[in-house]
Subunit: 220 residues, 2 copies
DNA sequence: CACGCTATTTTGAATAGTCAAAATAAATTG
DNA sequence: CAATTTATTTTGACTATTCAAAATAGCGTG
C-alpha cells in the first residue's frame, strides 16, 4: 500500500538513524534521497500526518513504530534481494545495491518467503548487513572498525558499510569482505592513514575514512 | 526511462493486438488496464505525442516500431520472471502473473540476462507463452485450440492463454499444461461444450470458451 | 433521413511528488 | 549582542496520472 516514494523515505530514515541516533535532520534526509530540502519537508509532513514519522520542525524526523515496521520490511526485501543477486545470479557485490533499490519495491511477501528459504534464511547480506527477520527484528550489534580497533591483533571483517560500487570493487580486489582476517599494523591519525596486513597478500594502506566503513571483530 | 504506467499501456496494447489485429479500440484498452475510457484516451494521446503509438480518433491505437520495442522488452521481462518464479522458486503457475506484473518494471537488463542464462534461455514461459528474444523477436505461430481442432486425434497442449489464477488452477488440476496430450472426443456447438480424454485420467467436460484458451498441435 | 444507442473524447478537478526561489528561524561569530 | 551564515520551511508552480460527468461522433434501425 505505501508508494515507492514513501518506502524510500522510510527506509532512508531508518538507515540514517543507524549511525546518528536521535533525530535525523532534514538536510541529511534530503541529501540521502537526492531531493531538494523543501521536498523532504513537504513529504515528511505528509508521512507525519499518516503516523509513520514524528517531525519536530527545525530539528528533524524519527520513525514511529508503524514507520519502523514498514522500513524494516523494505530493508529486509533489499538485503534478501542483494543476497539472491550475489549468491544465485553470481552478480558483483558492488552492482547489487542499485538493482535492489528497485526490486525492494516489487517483491511480494510470498516471493520473499520463497527467496528466503532458497537462500537458507541468511542472517546477513553479502556486505554483512544484517537482514531483518520476518517479524521485524534486526541485529544491531556495535562493532569496532578498522579505524578504531586494536593494533596487531587478527581481526575478522564482519561488515562493509558502504554502498558505492567503486569502494566495494576496491574492497573485493583486496580481499576485504566479510570473513576475511586482517591485522592493522599501524595507524597514523595525523596523516589519516593506516596499514593493513592480510595472510597471503601484500600490505595495504587505507584512509581512515575508508577504514571506518569496515567493521571487524576479534578473530577467534 | 518509460514510467511503469507507460510500460503497462504499451504491453497491453501489444497483448491485445495479438488476437484482434488492426487497431485496438479504446474501450478494450481501458478495460484491460482497469481505467475509465477517458483516462485511456488522455494517456494514449500522450503516448502518441511521444511517438510510441499511433492514435486514430474514434477508431483506436496501434504501436509504432518504437512502442513495440518497449512493449516487447516488458513482455520479455514478464515472461522470464514468470519462468523463474515457477521453475526456481517453485511457485504455483496461477500465482505468478500478478507477481510478474510488478517485477516486470523493476528488472534491469543485467539481471535479466543472468536470469535468462540461469533458466537456460527458455523459449516459452510456464504457460507456453513465447518469450521475446533480447533483440525483440517473438514467435507468433498460429495454433488450433481445443475449440477448433480435429476430433479423435491426439493433440499436444502448447499454450494456455489465460491469466486468471482460478482457470490456471483448474487446468493444472486436470493436467492441462503445455506438453500434456489430449484428445477431443466430442464437440457440441449448440450446448457450447466439449469432451476431452487424457491418458490415465477420467474424461473431462469443458466449455467452448475455456477450450478456446488452450492451444494445441498434433501430437507426434 | 431522423432517432437513439454506444463508444469515445472533452472538460474540469483531484492527488502525489517534485523544484525554484523567497521567507524565516537558529546557530555562529566578531 | 548585533550581524552574518546556514538550515529549514513556505509559497507558487509544474508534471503525471486519474476520475466524474458532460459533449460529441458514428452507428444502425425504422
Ligand atoms: Mn528503493
Ligand atoms: Mn547490502
Ligand atoms: Mn505491470
Ligand atoms: Mn505467462
Amino acid at each position: 500500500m505505501p508508494s515507492v516514494t514513501v518506502e524510500n523515505y522510510l527506509k532512508h530514515i531508518l538507515l540514517l538513524a543507524e549511525d546518528a541516533d536521535g533525530l535525523i535532520p532534514m538536510g541529511a534526509l534530503s541529501a540521502a534521497l537526492s531531493v531538494v530540502p523543501g521536498t523532504a519537508t513537504t513529504m515528511v509532513k505528509a508521512l507525519a500526518a499518516d503516523g509513520l514519522v514524528v517531525h519536530i520542525p527545525r530539528q528533524g524526523v524519527r520513525l514511529t513504530a508503524a514507520g519502523r515496521r514498514v522500513a524494516l520490511g523494505v530493508l529486509r526485501r533489499h538485503r534478501l534481494v542483494e543476497t539472491f543477486l550475489v549468491h544465485v545470479l553470481k552478480m558483483d557485490w558492488g552492482a547489487v545495491n542499485v538493482e535492489a533499490e528497485q526490486l525492494e519495491h516489487a517483491i511480494s511477501d510470498t516471493v520473499l518467503d520463497r527467496l528466503d528459504a532458497l537462500l537458507g534464511h541468511p542472517a546477513t547480506d553479502p556486505h554483512g548487513d544484517p537482514i531483518p527477520s520476518r517479524e521485524g527484528k534486526i541485529r544491531s550489534q556495535v562493532y569496532a572498525t578498522l579505524a578504531t580497533c586494536v593494533l596487531d591483533r587478527p581481526l575478522r571483517v564482519v561488515r562493509v558499510t558502504e554502498q558505492s560500487a567503486e569502494f566495494l570493487q576496491f574492497a573485493e580486489r583486496h580481499g576485504l569482505r566479510p570473513g576475511a582476517v586482517v591485522t592493522v599494523t599501524d595507524r597514523n591519525l595525523a596523516a589519516g592513514l593506516l596499514s593493513l596486513r592480510r595472510r597471503g597478500a601484500r600490505p595495504l594502506a587505507l584512509s581512515l575514512s575508508a577504514a571506518g566503513r569496515i567493521l571487524v571483530e576479534p578473530a577467534r
